[in-house]
Amino acid sequence: MDKTTVQELIQPTIKARNVDVYYGETHALMGIDLDIAPKTVTALIGPSGCGKSTFLRCINRMNDTIPSCRMTGKITLDGEDIYSKNIDVVQLRAKVGMVFQKANPFPKSIYDNVAYGPRIHGLAADDKDLDEIVFSSLQRSGLWNEVKDRLDKSGTALSGGQQQRLCIARTIAVNPEVILMDEPCSALDPIATAIIEELIADLKERFTIVIVTHSMQQAARLSQKTAFFHLGKILEFGDTSEIFTNPRVEKTKDYITGRYG
């Protein structure tokens, strides 16, 4: 079997077709088509303001919370149209978790931060079950050893990198299928960044990950697929190794070699 047939056999988890997004008058995304394969890391790169965050927020319908935002086109998750009438946004967001640019732990204890999702979705049968979920989520986000004796302390008292890992733990505690990450390391120092990158590489064994990043090295290191956004359009999409060694579009080449502008 050659490469293309393998890819055709694997159903993409997320399929975007002809997506347009407007903020009032601003036309932020134009005709986006994108397939996101399961259990891979897909990186979205591109200059500031080109619509990466906007696209990411379409996938879990976070744009619904912005009154001026309007979307046309179609996005499916496992073949289901996530913008159809009979989709429950709450269910969708439980399946598609999100980690934000700035770590935003709740001003609650570390335990309650992680337990928040499982509690509202009723994922734990009893307290022991919940303890177990909190434990394994913190374990998987690599935070357990650092916080195991202060689970009742406030999550906002952690360092920036720890807070971001707490947010990742909080997201995987609801056992999503997809994790969206919007520049998760942009506020962190290189060491904290390295820890989170390692974590992401681990997480891809179980989750489909879409990550927005401004660091070319990070995209190259972490992702299998890369999409290059420019002025609301996807100029190039393909295997990360291809894009970084042999970009087809001149603009992509300029951007990843730092000559953009």
Binding site: T65, V90, N104, F106, P107, I120
Partner: protein, 441 residues
């Protein structure tokens, strides 16, 4: 002017100046204007005293040897004559002379003060104008002058507060000479009518403040019962659910409630709410006084709704958007987000809004006078007439009073007690607000 010279002195090369040109301008203006202003103030405050003293000194010994009271009367006649008013004694030559002298002195002093104000100002203006040179650190001088003015203003506010509080304390101590502290704080009966003659009924009066404070608490409690849910829920609706258009429409409407004078609330309570309560009580066979704590409390609750809703609105909207995003991103519904994330984060601020509203309700007088009455009943029944601390203070001090009777003095004691309570509430509220502000930094 100072500014121009400063610029000229460096041939327009502003960079060579130590401070900005504007600072030189302010420096000249402030140093010359402030002392002049000070002299004018001295004239306004002490001027008439000064004139009186000069006149007295010029008058013969016979006037100076009069008793204080008679001397004051004499001076009063001089004042009246000077402005052409009626006087209390036959117009004598000496009085006429004295009045003329008075007018002359007044005139002269006025001139002296005006001239010295202008003179000092212009002298200083010239002086500071000459001092202007590129090296002059006028920025620092202006800063220091401004700081001094600010310090003076804030000390005025503080001094006034201290003055009020200490006069409350002094008068309260005098009251406690008549009535013991334990009777005042623990007594169950309030009837401050001290009789004029010792053989009249109720000559002693009783000054137990408990019924007043329970009345205050009862009404405040009813008011909060109304205002807390309504105010809080409307704040939540405004911040979390209302579309921008609805917000633009509803918010001013709510705030309009805050602009209604309390007297209007008062007669609304007395003429509309109280009869409705009485009539509906009759329907179910309840005897309800036409003046009831319930009516006053309900209307007072309406009055403090805007206070609670706009303060809560502020704290709720200052909960960072990122926390909402985090909660929605985990699949929480709007209600779950509000209950689990927004309200807990905003809670200290919301509680302090409640406390501020409570101290406002405690201090409210007009509505209670009109709707709850003056009868100091010790009761927890909201359908009876009660009275509050503020209403009693009002009752104690309106009408003719001897100034040192226990009755009048008790007003100060009540005032001090009330002040302590509201101060305490405000203190807690401020503490909570501060804690809340630190949370997101």
């Amino acid at each position: 002017m100072g500014r121009k010279k400063a610029v000229l002195s460096v041939n327009g090369k502003i960079r060579d100046l130590h401070s900005l040109p504007g600072h030189y301008g302010w420096f000249t203006a402030l140093t010359s204007f402030l002392p002049g202003l000070f002299i004018v103030l001295v004239w306004i405050i002490f001027g008439s005293n000064l004139v009186d003293n000069f006149t007295l000194a010029a008058l013969g010994d016979e006037i100076r040897s009069l008793s204080n009271f008679d001397r004051a009367l004499y001076m009063n006649d001089i004042h009246n004559l000077a402005i052409g008013d009626a006087i209390s004694r036959p117009l004598t030559n000496s009085l006429n002379n004295a009045t003329n002298f008075y007018l002359r002195t007044q005139n002269n002093l006025l001139w002296i003060f005006t001239l010295s104000a202008i003179g000092v100002s212009s002298l200083l203006a010239i002086f500071s104008f000459r001092k202007i040179s590129p090296e002059l650190r006028s920025r620092n001088l202006v800063e220091r002058l401004i700081i001094i003015m600010l310090v003076i203003s804030s000390s005025i506010a503080i001094l006034i507060t201290i003055g009020i509080v200490s006069s409350l304390i002094v008068e309260t101590l005098r009251f406690l000479e008549h009535v013991s502290l334990s009777e005042f704080l623990l007594g169950l009966k309030w009837s401050p009518q001290t009789a004029l003659r010792a053989d009249q009924v109720g000559s002693s009066g009783s000054f137990g403040a408990i019924p007043l404070f329970t009345g205050t608490l009862l009404i405040t409690f009813i008011a909060l019962l109304v205002a807390v849910p309504v105010g809080l829920f409307s704040a939540i609706y405004m911040t979390e659910f209302a579309s921008p258009n609805a917000r633009i429409f509803f918010k001013p409407l709510l705030e309009l409630l805050a602009g209604i004078p309390t007297v209007v609330y008062g007669f609304f309570a007395a003429l509309v709410v109280a009869p409705v309560i009485r009539n509906s009580g009759e329907v179910i066979g309840l005897e309800i006084a036409s003046e009831s704590a319930l009516a006053a409390g309900l209307v007072m609750g309406i009055m403090i709704i805007p206070l609670i809703s706009s303060l809560s609105d502020d704290v709720i909207s200052s909960v960072p958007q990122s926390l909402r995003d985090a909660s929605y991103g985990l699949g929480a519904t709007k209600t779950e987000t509000i209950v689990n994330v927004i309200l807990p984060s905003a809670l200290p601020g919301i509680v302090s809004a409640f406390l501020l509203a409570a101290s406002r309700a405690i201090g409210e007088t007009m509505i209670v006078v009109m709707a709850a009455g003056m009868a100091a009943n010790l009761t927890a029944n909201p359908l009876e007439a009660v009275t509050t601390v503020t209403v009693q203070i009002l009752a104690l001090l309106t009408g003719d009073q001897e100034f040192d009777s226990a009755k009048t003095l008790s007003a100060f004691a009540l005032g001090l007690a009330l002040f302590t309570i509201t101060l305490f509430l405000n203190f807690i509220a401020l503490k909570l607000v501060r804690k809340y502000q630190e949370q997101y930094d």
